[in-house]
Every structure is written in structure tokens, then in C-alpha cells.
Symmetry: none
Subunit: 225 residues, 4 copies
């Protein structure tokens, strides 16, 4: 009923301006979110107008409100859409792994690093962090859906690594900062200040350098001597 392809079969192109009524619906919310993500990322939430989002999504301002009850709901929708895959990605890697956590950490860091230039992946978390002040509910939601699931899993991973004697006796919770913080800082420096190593983001080298230090640092003490 609403899925047929509508070809503009006019041979001469009479009045090709603004088909005006498009009738799509199914895909629309997602298209709006795509536009919003792009603009919010580029200009920030408050500096983006609903009209800009609408235009970028190819519809009128009023139509945005057909799908989202407010501008803020766009932000929320963005987060909601991104939340499940992200959390699952992390969880999927960690699962109920037992043993030396370093391979898992390597995989995790590698995964993050290799996705760091894909705007789709980090755009939402960056947005959340930036707009948390003006929209705490959204930060809260992100926390509950993503962090409160991923962080405990990482903590457990490290804790059992310590217990099993695979790595040095560290505080599992705090060590998460040592694992992911360098990546975050790399991202911030690159995106906020355009400070990158010569020759691009150099994510491989970053991950290598970081993991070298990290893994040596996590080596159990008795392994030395």
C-alpha cells in the first residue's frame, strides 16, 4: 500500500519542483535521525535547528514532529537507536570469558580503534558526552543502557584475570580507565584540537603503543625476576 516505486514517468519533466507529498513513512524516522546525528555532531545540539534537520532529511519542519514530539526527543531517539548495538558489541566480545584477559582486551581495543574514524560508531557517545549538561536524562539513559552493562562486564573480566594470576593485582574498576582512557584522549585531541600524529589518526600505531605499555604493565609481578 505504500511500498511501490514511484517513477516520475513524465517524459518532458513538467514541473519537477518539490513533489511535495512523498508518502514514505516506514523509513522516515530513521532518515530523520540520520540527519539529526550528522548535524548535531557537526554543529552541536543547540546550534542545530529542527528546520535544518528536516531539510537535510528531505522533509518539512512540521513533518519532523510527526515522528518526534520535540527536538530533545531527536537526541533521545538517537541514543536509543545506538544504544543496543553498542552495548552488545562490547558484551559480545567479553561474554563470560575466563583466563588471561589480555587477548580480549586486545580485541576490544582493536575494535574500538578501528572504528574510531567511522562517524556512525562514536558519534552518539560523543554527542551524549557533549550534551550531557543540557540533557542529563539522556546521559542517564546512555549510562543505564550501555555503561551499566558494559562496565561491570569489563570489571569482571579483569577481576577474574587477577584472581587467576594472569595479570598483576590491580583494581579492576579503575583499570578500565587505563585500558580505554588513552583511546578516548586520542579521540578528543584529534577531533577537538586537530592534534594527530603526522600522517593521520594512526590508530594502529596508537593501539600498538598503548597495548605494549598496558600489557607490560599488567604483567604479573612474579613473572619478572
Amino acid at each position: 500500500m505504500k511500498c511501490e516505486s514511484q517513477k516520475t514517468s513524465s517524459p518532458i519533466a513538467e514541473k519537477p519542483r518539490k513533489p511535495k507529498f512523498r508518502r514514505r513513512a516506514e523509513a522516515r524516522p530513521d532518515e530523520v535521525l540520520d540527519a539529526a546525528l550528522e548535524l548535531f555532531t557537526k554543529r552541536g545540539f543547540s546550534r542545530t535547528t529542527v528546520d535544518q534537520v528536516a531539510k537535510r532529511a528531505g522533509l518539512s519542519k512540521g513533518s519532523v514532529y510527526l515522528y518526534f514530539p520535540s527536538k530533545k526527543a531527536l537526541l533521545a531517539g538517537l541514543v536509543r537507536r545506538a544504544v543496543v548495538p553498542v552495548a552488545n558489541m562490547a558484551l559480545g566480545v567479553i561474554a563470560d570469558y575466563r583466563g588471561d584477559p589480555r587477548p580480549v582486551i586486545r580485541q576490544l581495543v582493536g575494535m574500538l580503534a578501528s572504528n574510531m574514524n567511522d562517524p556512525k560508531v562514536f558519534a552518539v557517545p560523543k554527542l551524549v558526552i557533549r550534551e550531557a549538561v543540557g540533557a542529563p536524562e539522556i546521559a542517564q539513559m546512555y549510562r543505564e543502557e550501555v555503561l551499566d552493562r558494559a562496565l561491570p562486564a569489563m570489571t569482571r573480566l579483569i577481576a577474574q584475570g587477577v584472581e587467576g594470576g594472569h595479570i598483576r593485582k590491580v583494581d579492576p574498576e579503575l583499570t578500565i580507565r587505563s585500558i580505554l582512557g588513552p583511546l578516548m584522549m586520542h579521540l578528543v585531541m584529534a577531533e577537538v584540537f586537530s592534534i594527530k600524529p603526522e600522517g593521520g589518526l594512526a590508530l594502529d600505531r596508537l593501539a600498538d603503543n598503548h597495548l605494549t605499555i598496558l600489557f607490560a604493565g599488567l604483567e604479573p609481578e612474579e613473572a619478572r625476576l
Copy 2:
């Protein structure tokens, strides 16, 4: 330095209302910036109105424009004011140190960690990071005044540590992320998501845990076995 009295020696003293501790005129811009910093930090730049800043600073909206030509200039002023001491702090610690960089790093990390709950210290950098999207010139300025001076110093510190054989052969530039990133992530988690270790920020424990891993990780390879 900014306390000398210049009395408005008008003999008629009209408008004696609001005695309010007789402000010295030169102090005004600073007071405005204090107010701006507080509000920008708490509510974000766009959600703060010039009027709010004025009120908090104890003067009228119009008067703010006596000292700053625009709202954005407040942000710039904030950064400008914070820029010199911060850079100097970092530079002072590092100076032209030669030898094992770890003591210096320990000092630096300790300093940062112990100031992390002082809003005055990190308020401006956090602001810069958050508002960089809407005010790239300001991020640029921060970069030039602070980062472009502090980062090379740290790079040199690490580089000469590597050269002197005091630490493992790491990429000096990238290693900066490994040194400071965990602190940044700790801050973000605490401030944006209220995710803190039980019992507050636990900055000492964070620094300890981080430095333990970091320093073990930086240990020169030949030091082992």
C-alpha cells in the same frame, strides 16, 4: 595587582544605592569571567544567557558589553585568562628535565589528580572541549597557547627518557595518551555519568593504580629477566 583604590570621587555621590562592597572597576572583567565560568560550566554556553552572567556578577546586562564585545568573547576571555597559568604549571614541572621521566610523570599525574575536584582548574579545558564545535576559534586558541607548548615538552621528556634507556622504547607522542588518558576518562565518567568508585572520586587510588600499571609498562625491556 588589581586592588588599588580609584574612588569615584564625585563630590555629589548620586545614586548611593547598592553599596555592595564598592567595586573596583578593574576587578569587573574578572568578576564577569568568574560568573561566566561558573554558569557556562553548570549549564553550558548556549543555555546560559548574558543576563544570567551579568546578574551573577552583580551588574547589568548592558555593562557586560562594556567589557566584552559579545557573548562569545566571554568564552574567549575565559580561555585567555586560564591559558597562561595552566601552560606554565605543566611547563614548570617538566622544564628541561633530563633522566628517568617517571618521577616527573608521577609529579604531573599527582598534581592533576589532586586538582581534579577543584572546579577552577579543569573548568576551562572542559568548557573548551565541550564548546569546541560551536567555537572552533577558541579551541584553536587553547591549542596554540596551551597544548602546542605543553605537549612538545612532554614529548621531549619521554623521548629523552627513551634515549637515555630509562624507559621502554615507546612512541613519545602517543605515549602522552597513555599517561593522561586514564585521568581524562576518569573525569568524564565521574562528571558526565556520575560513575565513580564507591566512596567518591578516589583520586589517590586512581593515580596509584594507573601509575603502577604505567610505570611497570614503561620499564625498559632489558630491565626484565
Copy 3:
């Protein structure tokens, strides 16, 4: 970029349009209310825009919000301003009168009738009645400030007239409708439907006809026979 002084130093005819900054203040809120009253009366509350009110009052839309926090506050302000004089007028006439109520009623009806074509006097009550559905708080306010003071006074006036045997034994409360209702209906017919006796509102004749019937009707029963 826009901070240097750019004087339009053209010596001839420098743009004398729109004095732009007027600086009045004291009288402004009242002027705004005057404009609002006129427009709300003529077009109704929802069909009047704040911009129209502003223009009629001779200032800009934004300035209206300097004096009134919202469009609805204009309505409330209108009522508040009108409320005290109206109530006092009625109360002043009735006071603690004792004796045959008919002279007082004649005075009251005469007063109302003679003010009925003065838009200033009845504009607000009419507004309140019309907009009560959309702004019940305002009807409530009007009731409390005006009706809850004037109606009991009238009830007392009639009650003591009955007790003193000056008028027939009627229900004082309900009789108020018999006294004022005809005036109200006359107003409604004239204003809503343009139904007036030939030759204008004919308020004198209305009052005469009404009072003749009313007073004869209130005549104590024993006065007959």
C-alpha cells in the same frame, strides 16, 4: 568582525527612520494592557497575536515580554487592573444600606445601564466570560475579586429588604438574576447579534421598562388589595 566602530559618517540624511529606542517604562504596562483590551475585545484572545498587541501599543513584540511573562498574563493583567474599581463601584453603591432596596437597585441599574456603551467598563467582564473556557484561572480570579464580594452584598441588600417588609418575600440570591439578567441579555443581544431597539441601545428605555416591571413585581403582597 562586528566590533569596530563603524560610523556611517555620511553627512546627508543619515537614516532618520524609526527612533528605535524610546525609553518610557512607567506608562508602558498600562499602554500594553490598553492595546490588549482593545484587541482581545475586538478579535478574541486566541485570534489576537502578541505582535498585534505590541504594534498597537507602539512597541516591539519582544518588549511586551518585558512587562508580561506570557500572553495569558496579559489577560490576567487586564482583569487585575479592572477588578478593584468594578467591585468598589458596586460595593460603594450598596454599602450597608438599610431600608427599601429599590432606590439602591434603581441607582445600580441606572449606573450599569449608563455605562454599558463605555467599552472600558464592560470590556473586561465580557472578556472574562468569553475566555473562561480557555483560561479558568482568570474566571476564578474575577469571581473571587469581584463576584464574591459584590454578590453577597446584593444578597444582603435584598434580604434585609424582605425582612423589613419593603419588598415581597423573594429568594434574595435568585432575585439578583431578575435584577441584572435583563441588562446582561440586552448587552448580549446588542453586541453579539446586533439586535437593538430601533434607534440605538435605548438604555434609558430599557432601564425604565425593566425597573417598572421589577419594582411592581417586588411590591410587597399586602400592599395590594
Copy 4:
């Protein structure tokens, strides 16, 4: 005008969803008007959206426009529908009555009073009065269809009562206000300001009190002494 029966006699009956008591197409306009009346009465014309009307009537917004060309046409339709019965009711009572008008007046007042709490009866006139400002054409129509027929009839009724010496020499036209005004005022006070006698609307007592005064007031002068 667009209410004639047009049945969708398609034999295939596609879309059997929403069985919902199988609407007869001809009933639709009336159902829409019912919904509109209810909502316009409760929230006012401008505060009611076409969508709300549609939903309440159990169809879609677009379908409302199948039956009525605009929102205002709903108001007009409402009035048109109500107009004939109301006028006839009044006219039926009055007819070409000759003699003492008071029994007829008693019947009329009794009829009105006893229908006053039935929303169906007075909803439309109240609506017309309230929205007359924004829709004068509709007030005009109501006037022509109802008032211009009923009022002259009442005028004649009273006039011949005066001529026949059944009642005092009053102005027939103005006396209509004295007859119906108290009812109107009772309604306004109750509905707009929730001011009612203790124990509900007390319509019987109101009619009694009113008619007692009115009829005594209309008593021919020579009837006394």
C-alpha cells in the same frame, strides 16, 4: 448541503478492519458534528483541533474534510443543524396565541429552565455567543434563522397581551429581556463562574422566583386597588 446519502455499496468490502458497529455513511456528518459540539463546548473553538474532532468521531482527520470544507464549517454546520428545532420549539409554543400571555410565558420559561442542564439544548447558542467575535457570519446566521423568527413572535405575544389589557403597558420588545434575561444570567453564573445556589442549579426555584416577580410586575395597573 452535503449530507445526502451516498452509500459505498462496493460488493467486495475490502478493509474489514475496525468493524466497530458498521457505520452508515450518512450518519457520519452527524457524528462529526456531535464530536465537534462536545469539544467546542468543552475547550472552545480555537483550542479544539480538527484532529481531536475526528478522533472523537471515530474517523481520520482527512475524512472530516470529506464532509466539511473547513474547521469553521463545522461551527456553521453545528448551528445549521440546531437552528430549525430550536426556532420551532419556541414558535410552536407561542404560535398565534391570543389572550393573557402569562401562561405561555410560564410554559416557555419552564421549558427553557427544565432543559438548561441538558447540554444538547443550549450548547449551540452558547457556542454562537462565545465565538461570535471570530465568526460573525455564524452569529448572523443564527440570528436570521432563530432570533429573527422567535423574537418577533414573542414581541407580538406581549404586544397583544398589552392591547388586550391582560398585562401592564410595557414595551414588548424590551420586555423580552425581562423575561429571558434572568435565565441567561443564571446560566452564565453557573457555567462560567460556578456560582450556583446551594444544592445545584435549582432551576425550579429559579423559575418560580423569577416568574413570581415577573408576573406580579406585569399585572395590569388597574388590577390593583
